[in-house]
């Protein structure tokens, strides 16, 4: 079953304020509030919504929102 990126993005945006208005191609570094707090909120979202442990190192290597969502299982 293919990963539903649109649905996953909507859920992520609901928990991570820095991603409000972002799309799959948004470059994370261009978001004004993409900071250490946003990283914490993203780790928490992956953990509690998807039971996926994404490491800070993995997260920091992501360039776009699509890269982030690629860490979710299909």
């Amino acid at each position: 079953m293919p990963r539903d990126d649109a649905k996953n993005l909507a859920a992520l945006c609901a928990d991570v304020d820095a991603l409000t208005g972002a799309n799959l191609e948004t470059v994370l570094a261009t978001l004004p509030n993409w900071d250490s707090l946003a990283v914490l909120l993203t780790i928490s979202h992956f953990e509690h919504t998807h039971a996926v442990g994404i490491t800070a190192t993995q997260l920091r290597s992501c360039r776009t929102v699509r890269d982030l969502l690629a860490h979710l299982p299909c």
Binding site: S36, L37, V39, L40, L41, I43, E47, H48, G53, L59
Partner: protein, 344 residues
């Protein structure tokens, strides 16, 4: 490492905090930070106020105050104490250790065993375990003092780390008892992550030259959050299993009070509802490092503990990286109120 020890109890707990109140928003505005950003961080992480030690006040002073108040309230003769354990990452000196200095200050016997444990946020669990071990092998009374003044060790320009820390010292009296009360412990260490919380200079590896600026604590909050989510839930589950408890039969989960966001996320993964897990300590006092678990117990359930027993699961996690979990029943015990030091 797993360990279960019986015929031991905690008979008293006291905590003294720093006396200087710092306001997160006011400090941020004074430093020129964006008000909207301050509000965002305050709301998400749970930062409002913290109590820091006045200049010149150290963890030794804070723990001495907590110990004096505890022993006085319990009417315990200091010379009846067999061992003193001082847990800190902020000792007064590289040498001698804080426990020797505190032995003299409190007037403990020269026959006392006194030693320091250089652990941070997992340290109170380590101290409790060592006290329980000593009580299992001849000691009748062991005083565990755990405290840190990390607010003095963070860079004021480090806006991610500096606003988090408060300062406190705690005193916990552990006694041998004839009852069957047991304490269960699990410990773990992952030194491969040591750089996530580190003061890089000032030790033998990188000494600080005379006159050089002080060394500051550096922390990678995201790596530490990953670590806590990965290691704490299995450690808590492990001590609950050793005790034969479940989250529903456990009265409180006392986690190291890193901040409300981290505590809430970790408690949730441990299967505990927020109502059973103290998490508002940091909003009023800051992250108190090795003193945060006893402070959470005193702050959140001190009055209850004076009247009835509670089944407590506790877990400290932090610098090392190191973690320690414990499950024990405590109460009724003597719990003096948490007070600032010095008092006006």
């Amino acid at each position: 490492m797993h360990s279960s020890l019986s015929n031991i109890r905690i008979s008293g707990l006291a905590v003294s905090t720093g006396s200087v109140v710092r306001d997160f928003r006011a400090d941020g505005l004074a430093a020129g930070d964006d008000p909207a950003q301050l509000e965002r961080v305050a709301k998400a992480i749970g930062l409002r106020e913290r109590r820091v030690a006045a200049p010149g006040v150290t963890s030794l002073d804070l723990c001495e105050d907590a110990a004096r108040r505890l022993l006085e309230e319990m009417a315990v003769d200091p010379t009846s104490i067999d061992a003193l354990i001082f847990v800190t990452q902020t000792p007064d000196y590289l040498q001698p250790n804080n426990s020797s200095l505190l032995q003299a200050r409190l007037g403990l016997c020269k026959s006392v065993a006194a030693f320091d444990i250089t652990q941070g946020c997992s340290g109170w669990i380590y101290g409790l375990h060592q006290a329980a071990l000593l009580c299992s092998h001849g000691a009748a009374r062991v005083l565990v003092c755990a405290g840190d003044t990390l607010s003095h060790q963070t860079d004021p320009k480090d806006t991610a780390t500096h606003p988090i820390f408060g300062d406190a010292g705690s005193a916990t009296l552990v006694e041998k008892t004839g009852s069957e009360s047991a304490m269960h412990f699990i410990f773990g260490t992952d030194g491969s992550g040591a750089q996530a919380i580190m003061v890089p200079t000032g030790g033998a590896r990188q000494p600080v030259a005379a006159g050089a600026p002080g060394a500051y604590l550096q922390m990678d909050g995201a790596e530490v959050f990953n670590f806590a989510l990965r290691e704490v839930p299995p450690a808590v589950a492990g001590v609950l299993k050793l005790a034969g408890w479940t989250p529903s039969t456990t009265d409180r989960l006392a986690l190291h009070q890193a901040n409300r966001f981290v505590v809430s996320a970790v408690a949730r993964k441990c299967g505990f509802p927020d109502a059973k897990c103290p998490m508002d300590l940091v909003e009023q006092f800051g992250n108190q490092s090795s003193a945060s678990i006893p402070a959470a117990l005193v702050h959140a359930c001190g009055s209850t503990l004076q009247e009835q027993p509670l089944k407590i699961a506790a877990c400290g996690y932090g610098v090392g990286l190191s973690w320690g979990a414990a499950a024990f029943t405590v109460g009724p015990v003597v719990v003096p109120p948490m007070l600032p030091f010095p008092r006006r």
